[in-house]
Each structure stands twice: as C-alpha cells, then as structure tokens.
C-alpha cells in the first residue's frame, strides 16, 4: 500500500485518496492528494492495478504468438502496438516489407489515431461536464471500428499487422468505405470544435491549467501531444520516419501555451492531419499487390500454396510449431502512437522465443509528470490534467 508523507507536515493539510475506481481516472489509477483546502500541495500517483505481466508472457511465446498480447496493452491503439512490435522483429530479421503493405499499415494506424483521439476527446469532455461531445465522438469512432472489422474481422483487438506485412488483403468495398469516412469526417471535427473551442466553460476549465515548460517536459521524458503543446516539434513520423512516412505530406502541429487547452487544440489539429495522411495513403495503395514479404520460414505461405506445395507445407508446419529464430542481437524501434513515443526493445538470443521484450509506453512515462502539472492547482483541475495527459492504464501497467 502506497502511503504519502505530508509535504507541509502541518495539521492544516489532509490526504485524500482519489481512485482507483474514480471514473475520471480513465481506468484504475490511484492518486494520493495532499490538500490544503482545495489546493493540491502534493500528488503521488500509484499504478499497477492492471499489471498483467505482458513483457514476461512475451518471453514464453514465439515471435508470432506475442502479437496478440501487444493488442491488449494500449487498447485504444492496438494497431499501433502491433506495428511497433512487428517492426522491431522485422528489424531483428532484417526483413523488408512490401510498399503496399507499408501504406496499408500507415492508413490503418492513422485511422486508429483518429479513433483514439475521439475516445480521448469524448471522455475528457465528459469529465469536464460536456456530455454531448461524448455521444458525437463515439458516433464517428463506431464508423472507424466498422472499417477495422471489415479489414481484420475484429473491432478492437485486430492483430491485423503481422511480421512481414499485414494479415489479410483489403476486403471488397474497402475503398468506398474509407472514401465515405473521409467525406464526412472533416465537417464532424468542425462540429466538435463548435461545441468546445470557444465555449466559455470549456476555456475556463482548460486555459492556464496544467502548465509545463518545454525544458521540464523534455527532462521528464514526455512525448506526444503533451510535448508538442509545449512547442517542441518532436514527432517520430517526421524525425525518424518509418513505414514510408517520409513519402507523406503532413504537418506536425505545435503550440506554445502548453496548458490543457493547448493539448486539446493539438489533438484536434492532429485528427485533421491524420485525415490528410489517410487520403494520401488511399491514393497510394494499389488495387492489387503483395501484402506480405517473401520470406519462407518467417511469413506463413498462402493457404492455396500450403495445400498444394510440399515445401510450403513444411514451412507452414515449422512456423506454427517451432517458430523462427532471428539472429542474436537487439533492436529498439519507436513509432508515434496517439499518446506519444511508443517503443519496442527486443533482444534475441538466437532461439525461437525472445530473450526480452520491453515496451516503452508513452502513457507510463507521461504519467510521471502528473505531480508537476497538478501541484498548486485546484482539485477539480486534477481531473482536467489527467485527461489531457491521455493515459491508458492498460499501457501504463502492462
């Protein structure tokens, strides 16, 4: 049990336990707040309630089996988790992914970013008392989940991105579905902005709340919209392009106000940029072509081949019983998840199971800046600050 030593040490402060079941903690986060009246003197976050040992479990699975575990970390960004894990394994294997699969990955991950920001916007607004935004956001999120279901057969835990490419060819009618989404989505983003951006209550609850300077944000290893709202244009898609992001044209929105309002504006702007990227990806993805790398023994053969060719059957059997063994070595890959820099560190010892899989989860590392954001603020601002860090507890605890 985590206890808090009172910072002031005087009788006039009290310690309040917030969570782990409080709805505004977006999961099971517990925060010990030392209060002087309504002002927060000290905040001590306590996490681990959702720890499931995913990193340990990965060590006991073959490289392909572990993909399903990654879905379950950041459950608002399962495709991004698949992507970072698969890219790390591909780096270990020195495996080149076909361009078409790279564009499909980019499109899916950007749709995922929009859906994740929609959940964030809806729940953050409901925390601050704006009920209707939640309903609008979830209406559009549903459309994105339908697209995922079309592609992968699953709405949330898609496991669509696999080592060497993606799991399935895009389904019939996928282009029309995404065209339709791209057609109405920009006006829907405008709709959210009409409800919130110039709303006096919204501005009152978010402006000048939860300020952090750029120096502090870098020192505390913050990444993602939080650091971009502080004026640092740190985005892995631009700085260290992966999966052909260098062929896409998009901006990295930054602001300098670095408060809850600024972080809200950054995420809304990112939704618009993601729409631009999805549009470009749609134009780049050809109607037919390879979706998996040619790598016998690593990428499972096509079903028809497996049924007709002896060699393909042997590879199929080997992959699903024993797995494959990347050469001994280490790889660290980072991607830009909706929450910040998502990294995957894999060490191989040359056996079919990884020696170590570690995920650099942005929620976990951004959360440690929470005391810096809330100390000296009112207790109601704590809720606004938790919201704008945008944590997913599944990823914090892993």
């Amino acid at each position: 049990m985590t206890t808090v030593e009172t910072a002031v040490g005087q009788a006039k402060t009290m310690v309040l336990n917030m969570g782990p079941q409080h709805p505004s903690t977006h999961g099971v986060l517990r925060i010990l707040l030392e209060l002087d009246g309504e002002t927060v003197v000290k905040a001590v976050p306590d996490c681990g309630y959702l720890h499931t040992g995913i990193e340990k479990s990965c060590e006991d699975k073959t490289y392909s089996q572990a993909i399903t575990l990654t879905d379950r970390m950041d459950y608002l960004n399962p495709l991004g988790n698949n992507l970072v894990y698969c890219m790390a394994v591909e780096k270990l294997l020195n495996l080149e992914v076909p361009k078409r699969a790279q564009y499909i990955r980019v499109m899916m991950v950007e749709l995922q970013r929009i859906s994740s920001h929609l959940v964030w916007l809806g729940t953050h607004a409901i925390d601050l008392g704006a009920m209707s935004v939640f309903l609008y956001c979830f209406r559009e999120r549903e459309e994105i989940l339908k697209i995922f279901e079309m592609f992968a057969g699953q709405r949330m835990m898609t496991s669509y991105i696999r080592i060497g490419g993606v799991a399935l060819q895009p389904p019939a009618g996928w282009r029309q579905a995404i065209e339709r989404f791209l057609k109405y989505m920009p006006s829907r983003v405008d709709e959210y902005e009409t409800l919130l951006t110039e709303n006096r209550i919204w501005m009152g609850r978010t402006k000048n709340i939860g300020y952090i300077s750029a120096e502090d944000a870098i020192a505390l290893s913050m990444t993602g919209p939080t650091i971009r709202a502080a004026g640092v244009a740190y985005d892995n898609r631009k700085l260290f392009p992966y999966s052909s992001y260098d062929e896409f044209e998009f901006d990295v929105p930054t602001r300098t106000d670095s408060d809850c309002f600024g972080r809200y504006m950054i995420r809304v702007a990112e939704m618009r940029e993601s729409l631009k990227i999805v549009r470009q990806a749609l134009d780049k993805i050809t109607d037919d072509g390879a979706i998996k790398a040619e790598a016998p023994g690593i990428v499972p053969p096509a079903r028809e081949k497996m049924k007709t060719e002896m060699e393909a059957l042997i590879y199929h059997f080997k992959i699903f019983t024993e797995g494959f063994s990347p050469p001994a070595g280490e790889a660290f890959v980072t991607v830009e998840s909706p929450r910040g820099e998502l990294g995957c560190f894999i060490a191989s010892d040359g056996s079919p199971k990884p020696l170590r899989v570690h995920f650099r989860s942005p929620s976990f590392i951004n959360l440690q800046a929470l005391p810096k954001l809330v100390e000296g603020q009112l207790i109601s601002d704590v809720i606004a600050c938790i919201g704008t860090i945008d944590i997913v507890l599944g990823e914090v605890d892993r």
Binding site: M1, G48, S221, M222, Y234, G329, F332, G343, F345, I365
Partner: protein
C-alpha cells in the same frame, strides 16, 4: 555476445563523433561499441555511467537531451547476467544512442540517472521492481507495478512464467463421475 561488435565500424558521421568524443573525454568511458542494424550501443563501465550520461546530455557535439527509455535484460545463467539499457535521443540532430551497463548477479547495484534526467525516476523504479536492480541515490526507490509486499523479481529469467504460487488442484471427490 560480442560477435556483432566492431570497434572500427565504418559508421555514420554523427554517431562516430559521439563515440570518439566520449573516448577523447575519458579513455575508460567506452569499453565496447556495438553496431547492429543501424543502432549504436556504447557499453559503459558501471563507475562512469552517471558522468558519461551527463556528458552525452551536455556536450555540444552530442546534446542527447531526451532519455526516452530505460530497461534491463537478464542473460541468466551467463555472467555478467544483467544489462541495463538507456535509450537516448537528440531531438535537434535527429540522432539516437544506446548506453549499456553490464552488472553481475551478485552485485546488481548501479548509480541512478535521476540527477541527470528526472524522467529516469519511474523507469528505474520499474527496473527495480521487476529485476531487483538497486539504484544508488534514487529519490523514491519503491515498487511501482507490483504490490509492495511482492516476493521476488518476476522479469528475471530464473523466475517461472507462471510464478511461484501453488497451482490449485481439483479436490479428489470433485470429478466427473461424482456429479
């Protein structure tokens, strides 16, 4: 373990200068350089970790201002079994660097990097929690994801995946025939 290391690797200019800079600054700071899949890893002796890290952050030719990740890996039963790994990023030069320290299982103690990067706080707590590495001068070295009274360090290789708990056994009478 060192088959990929090549001290004379012909590497990209920026990275090479980081290694050379560190070598020129203190000839003991770099015990080994590993180039693998385009990533540079510098193995640093335990005693010089904090000074080297501060050098990486402050030297004008390096400026690794963002500590993005820290983790550990366990090579049990080989010795030195632990490798503590720090991933650094220089935002302005778009460069990455990995620092690594090898620790023996008998004495898994290392200097904390919280004085250099405050962001190392929770990362090191996580390593302490799951690997049992002790960080000197860490301001708040407590378990972070496991309960405070947890026994053992689950991410060590000699800790079984299913844990040390007793697997529940079905009572003898509770079989299909008895129902």
């Amino acid at each position: 373990l060192t088959e990929n290391s090549n001290q004379n690797a012909n590497v990209v200019g920026g990275r090479l200068s980081s290694v050379e800079h560190l070598r020129a600054w203190d000839k003991n700071a770099v015990t080994e350089v590993v180039e693998y899949r385009g990533e540079t890893t510098i193995v640093v002796p335990r005693e010089l970790l904090r000074a080297t890290a501060a050098r990486c952050r402050d030297a004008a030719s390096m400026q690794f201002n963002l500590l993005t990740d820290a983790t550990c890996l366990d090579r049990h039963p080989y010795e030195p079994r632990f490798e503590v790994v720090y991933q650094l990023v220089c935002i302005s030069r778009r460069d990455k660097l990995r620092l690594k320290v090898r620790l023996s299982g008998k004495d898994p103690v290392i200097d904390s990097l919280v004085p250099v990067w405050p962001g190392a706080n929770w990362l090191e707590r996580e390593i302490f929690d799951l690997f049992g590495i002790h960080f000197n001068e860490h301001p708040d070295l407590r378990r972070i994801v496991l309960p405070d009274d947890w026994e053992g360090y689950p991410l060590r290789r000699d800790y079984p995946v299913e844990g040390f708990r007793d697997i529940p056994v079905m009572p003898l009478g509770f079989t299909k025939t008895s129902i």
